[in-house]
Symmetry: C2
């Protein structure tokens, strides 16, 4: 049937795994792991969320997340405030300095992305973006979406 499409989708995935690896290189030089940065990213994006939400969103082990949050709290990167409605859980958010740390990491990653785009002509860059947009449009509604 559409076996060639399947094969192509998979080859794209292999290809894009390499691209993502490239973009992630920036983080790897920081003192934070990719997972830690992803957590910071989500906290930055949403202002406040629980550990459970992080676990579900990023598909991580809850024990692992718990430790990362503890570490972040010690380093004054996140603040926890116990929820009124459910005393088991906490609202997590980036502290001011946590935000600053994240933004710096974010800048580095931004720079990596910029470098990729600057290697392209502006037509190529626009085409790249619009193709990416189309892919997101197609996949987003079907797959339980991310981002």
């Amino acid at each position: 049937m559409h076996d060639h499409k399947i094969a192509f989708l998979r080859s794209f995935n292999r290809f894009y795994t390499g691209i993502i690896g490239l973009l992630d290189e920036g983080y790897l030089q920081s003192e934070f792991s990719l997972t830690e940065v992803r957590i910071m990213y989500e906290l930055h994006a949403r202002k406040s969320m629980t550990a459970r939400e992080l676990v579900e969103l990023l598909k991580l082990d809850k024990g692992y997340v718990s430790r990362i949050i503890t570490k972040f709290e010690k380093k004054k990167i996140v603040e926890r405030t116990r929820s009124d409605s459910d005393l088991r859980s906490f609202g997590l958010s980036l502290s001011k300095s946590g935000k600053a740390i994240f933004l710096k990491l974010n800048d580095a990653s931004q720079e990596q992305a910029r470098q990729i785009l600057s290697s392209l002509t502006s037509q190529e860059a626009s085409k790249l973006i619009s193709n990416m947009n189309a892919i997101m449009q197609i996949l987003q509604k079907k797959i339980g979406a991310h981002g």
Copy 2:
């Protein structure tokens, strides 16, 4: 300047990281790690290559690769034949049973990809593929290519 393009590229990367994770789920239930499967994939694709080539292609630590190859050899997944021209290195290739193991894993991954595509109309699937193709075309020549 093209800050919005940069931001979009990054959001696509986050999005697609999730998709790749989805596709990799199949492997994760197997007894092999993603890296191990990637090694098998390359050996299957190229018939014979050296550990050094694997290290460069997949950007892995050579000690790590060495151990994986040793493990694979013990499990009769790969065969090593010392190179005539360079006695330090070995040609690596999947054994018959290694090939069978790989193909089974491959089928599982194929099935995952098929499921994603079958959730789309055939027009959507075609569009998805052609967008992916365009992205690869644009990035492949610029970036030191993969796949």
